[in-house]
C-alpha cells in the first residue's frame, strides 16, 4: 500500500506536469444526447432516456457491492436505453487509477470517491458540479430534491460552495457485545466506555475469549474509531477553517481507552484491520468488538459466524446517554470530462435513492443516505446495528475530506499503535496526534 501510495504521488505529479500543456485546451465534456427529463418507464425507475449513451463507472471491486451495482446498471440500461460498464479495481489501487485517468484524457463518467481524496479531486477540477441537476425538478422524480438526502451527509459532497457528489455507504463505528456471554457472567449491558473497558478486562481469558476485538492496523479504521472517541467527548480534529482543534485531554482519554481494550484483544491486534477483527469476533474468540458497521455484517452471517444471533449493538459513549460516532460514507461523483453528464446524474439519482440502496443494504451492512431509506421497516429489521448507528450519528463528525488529511491520519494511527505497544503514554500519543494534525493542516 505504502509503495503504491508513494509511486502514485510521484506518478500523478509527473503525469500532471507532462500532460498539462497537451491537455490544457480540453474544453470539457458535454451532457450527451437523449432526454434527461423523460419520466420513468416504470414506477420507481430512473429518469430520462439515453439511447446509445455508453457510460463507464469507476469503483472498488468487492461483493456484494460490485455484483449489486452490476445488476442495477443493467436495470438502468434497460429503462433508459444507455449502457453502464463498471471498471472495478482493487480498493488499494482505486485512487491511483482514478487520478491517472482523470488527469489524462478521462474515460470515466461516474467515479466513487472516498472522503480522503474528495477534496483533492474537487480542488483539481476533476469533478462536475451537480447543483443544477439536483435543483431541476424535471430531472428528478416527483418529490425528490436535495432535501431527500440526510443534510449532514449530503453536505460532505460540497466543495467551495458547490455540490459535487451524492453519498451512500453510510456507516459508523459501534460496539457489538455477546449478549449470552454478558448474561452468563452477570454483567449488565454497558452504558459507557468505562463500563466497556471494565467488562473487557473482566471477560478477558474466560472460556478462551478475548475481552475485545478491535482494529489495530494502520489503514483508516483506527482513525475512524479515534474520531468517534473524541467526538464522544465533544471534540474534533479541526474546525470549519481547517485549523487544528484537537484537545489533548480528550485525545489522551481516547487513547487510554483504546490501549485498555486493546490489551484484552486477541494476539496480533496490531495487524487487525476491520475484517480480521470481525472474523475473530464472529468465530467466538472475543466477547466484544468495536469496529465499522459494514464489517460487523460478518457477525450475523451464519456462513461466516459461529455466533450469529448472539450479538447486541450499542453506540460509543463516554457519558451515559450521550452517544457519538464518526460519519463514514462514500461519494458518487460525475467526472468533469464526461460527455454523458445527464445520463450519469440519472443513474446516480436513482442508485442512491432508498429503494436501490435497500437492495444491497442487508448483505452489505451499509445504509443509504436518503431519508426514505430509514423509513423502510423491513430493511431496518434486518440491520441489527441500525438503531445503534442512528443513535451514534445523532452526534457525529464526518470522516475528514481535507486533501492533507491522509498524512495526519497515518500519524494518528501510528501514535495509537505506539501507545498499545507501550512505547508512548496516552499523553505522549495525544501530543503526537496534535502535532500531526497541526503539521498536516498547516
Amino acid at each position: 500500500m505504502a509503495v503504491y501510495r508513494r509511486w502514485s504521488i510521484a506518478a500523478v505529479a509527473l503525469l500532471a506536469a507532462t500532460t498539462l500543456v497537451a491537455c490544457g485546451s480540453d474544453d470539457g465534456g458535454g451532457s450527451g444526447s437523449g432526454d434527461p427529463n423523460a419520466a420513468p418507464a416504470t414506477a420507481g425507475g430512473p429518469m430520462g432516456r439515453f439511447p446509445g449513451a455508453k457510460l463507464v463507472l469507476s469503483r472498488w471491486a468487492g461483493d456484494p457491492w460490485t455484483s449489486g451495482q452490476k445488476t442495477a446498471a443493467g436495470e438502468w440500461g434497460t429503462a433508459t436505453g444507455g449502457t453502464l460498464d463498471l471498471d472495478a479495481v482493487p480498493y488499494e489501487n482505486l485512487h491511483d487509477k482514478q487520478a491517472l485517468t482523470l488527469t489524462g484524457a478521462g474515460g470515466y463518467d461516474i467515479i466513487y470517491v472516498h472522503p480522503s481524496w474528495f477534496g483533492e479531486f474537487a480542488k483539481a477540477g476533476y469533478l462536475a458540479p451537480i447543483d443544477q441537476y439536483l435543483a431541476d425538478a424535471n430531472r428528478n422524480p416527483s418529490g425528490f430534491s436535495a432535501d431527500s438526502y440526510l443534510p449532514n451527509v449530503l453536505a460532505q459532497g460540497k466543495y467551495d460552495g458547490k455540490q459535487y457528489c451524492l453519498p451512500d455507504f453510510v456507516s459508523t463505528t459501534v460496539l457489538a457485545y455477546r449478549k449470552d456471554v454478558f448474561e452468563a457472567n452477570g454483567i449488565a449491558e454497558p452504558k459507557t466506555l468505562d463500563d466497556v473497558a471494565a467488562a473487557a478486562a473482566q471477560l478477558n481469558g474466560k472460556d478462551g475469549l478475548a475481552g475485545m476485538s478491535i482494529p489495530g492496523k494502520r489503514g483508516g479504521a483506527v482513525a475512524d474509531i479515534m474520531g468517534s472517541l473524541i467526538t464522544a467527548q465533544g471534540n474534533w480534529w479541526y474546525d470549519d477553517q481547517a485549523k487544528s482543534t484537537l484537545d489533548k485531554a480528550a485525545a489522551a482519554k481516547a487513547v487510554d481507552f483504546y490501549v485498555k481494550v486493546a490489551k484484552t484483544a486477541p494476539s496480533g491486534v496490531l495487524n487487525f484491520h476491520v475484517d480480521e477483527a470481525a472474523t475473530a469476533a464472529a468465530q467466538g474468540k472475543a466477547a466484544m468488538i468495536i469496529s465499522t458497521t459494514p464489517s460487523l455484517q460478518a457477525l450475523e452471517d451464519p456462513a461466516k459466524s459461529t455466533t450469529a444471533g448472539k450479538w447486541g449493538y450499542l453506540p460509543l459513549a463516554f457519558t451515559a446517554g450521550k452517544p457519538a460516532g464518526e460519519l463514514i460514507y462514500w461519494n458518487w461523483c460525475i467526472a468533469e470530462k464526461s460527455t454523458n453528464k445527464d445520463a450519469a446524474y440519472s443513474f446516480l439519482q436513482w442508485y442512491t435513492n432508498g429503494p436501490q440502496q435497500a437492495k444491497v443494504a442487508v448483505a452489505a451492512a451499509t445504509a443509504g443516505a436518503t431519508k426514505d431509506f430509514y423509513t423502510n421497516a423491513e430493511v431496518a429489521a434486518k440491520l441489527p446495528f441500525l438503531s445503534a448507528m442512528n443513535d451514534a450519528l445523532t452526534t457525529s463528525n464526518p470522516q475528514p475530506s481535507l486533501a492533507a488529511w491522509p498524512k495526519a491520519q497515518d500519524q494518528i494511527e501510528l501514535a495509537v499503535q505506539e501507545a498499545i505497544e507501550g512505547k508512548k503514554t496516552p499523553d505522549q500519543a495525544a501530543d503526537a496526534m496534535g502535532q500531526a494534525v497541526a503539521d498536516a493542516l498547516g
Binding site: A11, A61, D63, L86, A282, S295, A298, S305
Partner: protein
Amino acid sequence: MKTNRGWTVASYAIVAAFLVGVLVPIAAVVLNSFKQPNDIFSSTLKLAFSPTLDNYSKVLGQLQFQDFLVNSTVVAAGSTVLSIVVGVPAAYALARLPLRGRELWAGAILFTRMVPAVALVVPMYVIFQRLELLGSYTALIAAHTTFNLPIVVWMMRSFFEELPPDLEEAALVDGANRLGAFIRVAVPLTAPGLAATSVLCLLFSWNEFLFALVLSGRGTQTVPIGVASFIGTVSVDWGGSSAAAVLAMLPVFVLGLAAQRFLVRGLTFGAVKG
C-alpha cells in the same frame, strides 16, 4: 562414508524444508478454495471439512473470472511471441555478427530491464493515451514486451554463444546465407533454450500487476487484477480469492509440466563445455 551419509541426510532435510515452505502456502490456497467461509475462518486449522465448489461457482459464474484468464492468455502469448520474434534475431546478431560496440548495445538492452517499472508506467500511460490505445490488448502486449525483450536477448545470446560456430560455418560453406544458417541451424539447436526463455516470458507477463492495472481497461484486465479484486474495502473474500488463485495457477502449472523437459535442458544449456 559416514560423512557422505550425513551430508545426504542434511541435503534431504534442506530440500524438504524448502519444499514445505514453498508448498504449504499453495496447499493452503488450494484447500481454502474448496472451503466454506466458516471452515476458512475456523480458529484451528481444519483439514477435515466438507468440500464445496461454491467458490469456483461464484468466481466463474457471477464474477466471470474466465474473462481475466482469456485476457491474460492473449496478453502473455502476444507479448511472448513478439519478444521472441524480435529478441531472438537480436540475440543472434549480438552473439555472432561483428557489430561495432556490441557489448555497449547488449548493455543498453539490459539497462532497460533495470529501470523500475514505476518509472516507466507513467510515460507509457501518456504514450498509449496519445495513441488512443489505453485499455487495449496492444498497449499491454507492448508494455510487457518492454521487460520481456531484454530477457530474451540476454538469455538467447548466451545460448547462441555456447553453440560451436563451426556448425553455422559449415552451413555457410554449403551455400546457406547468414539468415539460413540462423533459421536452419542456430535456432533448432537452441530450441530448449528458446522454450525456457518463452516460458519465463509467459510467467513474467502472466504475473505482472502494475502495467496491467494502469494500462488495462474494463475488457482487458488480466489475472493479477482479478485476483486482487477480491480484497475489498471492508473484507477479503478468501474463498473467492483462493479459487481465483488456483485458476490463475493452473495454466502456468500445466505449461510448466509440459515444458519441464525443455526447461531443465534449456536452463542448463551450455553449463558444461566439452
